[in-house]
Amino acid sequence: MNSKPYMNPYLAGFLLGLVLLATIYVTGRGLGASGAFKSAVAETVKVSAPEHYSTSEFYKNYESTSEGGFLKSWLVWEVIGVFFGAFISALLSDRIKLRMERGPGVRKRMRFTAALIGGALFGYGSQLGRGCTSGSALSGMAVMSFGGIITMLAIFGGAYMFAYFFRKLWIKG
């Protein structure tokens, strides 16, 4: 079964912009993703190592800004929605399949290792930069946030800067 082609990028961008705009209009805040990971980490530490949780400065800050914990976190519910939305979309377009994508000549183990390290760096960077591509860059751009746009430039600038060194993960040559 062949999967359906992707949506026109400009149309997709326009629709994504409308989703973001509706979010801002209704809730006064933008979209996000990495914040949900943070909530998940914080909740896990809270349950598994409550002593450490209560003494760590990072979690103290988290506790004072988040109300009601994991299941009351806006971003957690949003990301659960993202998962369902993407699943519906992939299902309708016949794209659901357990597999992975990797560059030519890249082994499975290599791809997994790279994904793990890349994820760890992104996770770390998103905490330092107060948000990821969704929460900081995209939503920040929509409200013209200086910090958001600077973060966006740093993400993409950084990626271009390092792209050459990791080209073998993705392309020939």
Partner: protein
């Protein structure tokens, strides 16, 4: 007026909203091809710029939309979340995320989409991200200084440049359109396809691009709702035929001493002037702050009468007209100014003789009683400011 949370939509209901917009977000990301890591990193190797197209179009659409809604007073831009700027952490954090992007091939949002479509590498990426967040939490004391350095607050880019938000949106739109053309050129080079630019096909795209330009023109060159209201207020002021509810100081004195709970006496002068002297039991809302969100309840309520006074009648009238637009509350302007009131109390040359008691004496007594009352009530802090609820947000 937006944002609808927390006034119209409760914080609990907001979680359902989160789930619904999340579905929309995930759906569109997946449809755009963001569940494919090869499509994502194409941006960095020049063979597929889908990410740039989607990202820029979405950003520009939402940005122009926000301007448009606030222009027509449908969205209060002061209440929406603007990501704060911490210069160094933004740059370093962004750089690290960029590195993670080229190595891992996803960002957090897209990894969730890809995992939903069954991508195993995305699932591993998510595990990595969680470990990364954990690593940050453990190393927080080490990077705390960097994390908190150069705090510029929730500054907007247009303010930083000192230009209007409309102009900033125009600049971003131009950059976006320029980038759209440029990346087509790059793509065709990298993929070794001939770069063709036909005007016939471009026509539709120009038509599409004309929409944001048109909306920007509307917001830039038509008066905003606030400007229209201001105009109407000034017209009514100049007209002179507008009928205001008025009440005299004598009426005010007797009403206040009988039942001060039925009256909001609003002093429109500056806080300094108010502090120096004011009519007893008055609260201070400087005219320029009248529209501020924190005072809105005063103009929406319908069980008390707002009485306006200032050092000139004109300003009281202005406040009266402004409050027409803020809510349904009953209101009147005080016939006297602050000066007039003082003269009445101190000098007592009034033409209105109440029965038996000398008018001067009655006023002075009542004024004294009210001062005593104010002193007594000040223990309970009677001014209820509405708490300004700026939306919380961000990813962190």
């Amino acid at each position: 007026m937006g944002p609808l949370v927390p006034e119209i939509i409760s914080n609990e209901l907001n979680l359902i909203v989160a789930f619904i917009v999340g579905i929309g977000f995930g759906y569109v990301l997946e449809q755009a091809g963001f569940s494919s890591t090869k499509k994502l990193v194409g941006l960095f190797y020049g063979y597929d710029f889908t990410v740039l197209r989607v990202f820029f179009t979405a950003g520009v659409t939402a940005m122009i939309g926000v301007l448009f809604l606030s222009h027509f007073n449908l969205l209060n831009i002061d209440l929406i979340y603007v990501n704060p700027t911490f210069l160094w952490s933004a740059l370093f954090g962004g750089g690290i995320m960029g590195l993670g992007f080229v190595i891992g091939g996803f960002c957090p949002g897209t990894s969730v989409c890809a995992a939903a479509a069954g991508k195993l590498d995305a699932m591993v990426f998510i595990i990595g991200s969680v470990l990364g967040v954990l690593a940050f939490s453990e190393t927080y004391p080490l990077v705390k200084d960097l994390y908190l350095a150069e705090n510029w607050g929730a500054i907007r880019f247009d303010k930083f440049l000192g230009i209007s938000p409309e102009l900033f949106a125009v600049i971003i739109t131009v950059i976006a359109v320029g980038a759209f053309v440029a990346v087509r050129f790059v793509e065709s080079k990298v993929n070794k396809v001939e770069f063709k630019f036909s005007f016939g096909k471009a026509k539709n795209k120009f038509a599409f691009a004309a929409i944001p330009v048109l909306i920007l023109f509307i917001t830039a060159f038509t008066p905003s709702s606030k400007e229209l209201i201001d105009n109407e207020i000034e017209n009514n002021l100049a007209d002179g035929n507008y009928i205001y509810n008025k009440c005299s100081s004598d009426k005010l004195l007797s009403e206040l001493s009988a039942n001060h709970n039925k009256i909001n006496l609003i002093d429109l002068r500056s806080p300094e002037e108010f502090k120096k002297e004011h009519i007893p039991l008055a609260i201070n809302i400087p005219l320029k702050d009248l529209r501020n969100y924190e005072w809105l309840e005063y103009f929406k309520q319908t069980f008390k009468t707002n009485v306006f006074y200032s050092d000139n009648v004109e300003n009281a009238k202005r406040a009266y007209l402004i409050s027409n637009y803020l809510g349904e509350s009953e209101k009147c302007i005080l016939t006297e100014t602050m000066e007039g009131y003082k003269n009445l109390i101190m000098e007592g040359h009034s033409p209105v003789p109440p029965d038996n008691v000398s008018p001067h004496r009655w006023r002075e007594d009542t004024n004294q009683k009210l001062i005593a009352k104010e002193k007594f009530l000040s223990k309970f802090s009677t001014t209820v400011k509405k708490k300004v609820m700026v939306a919380k947000g961000g990813c962190s």
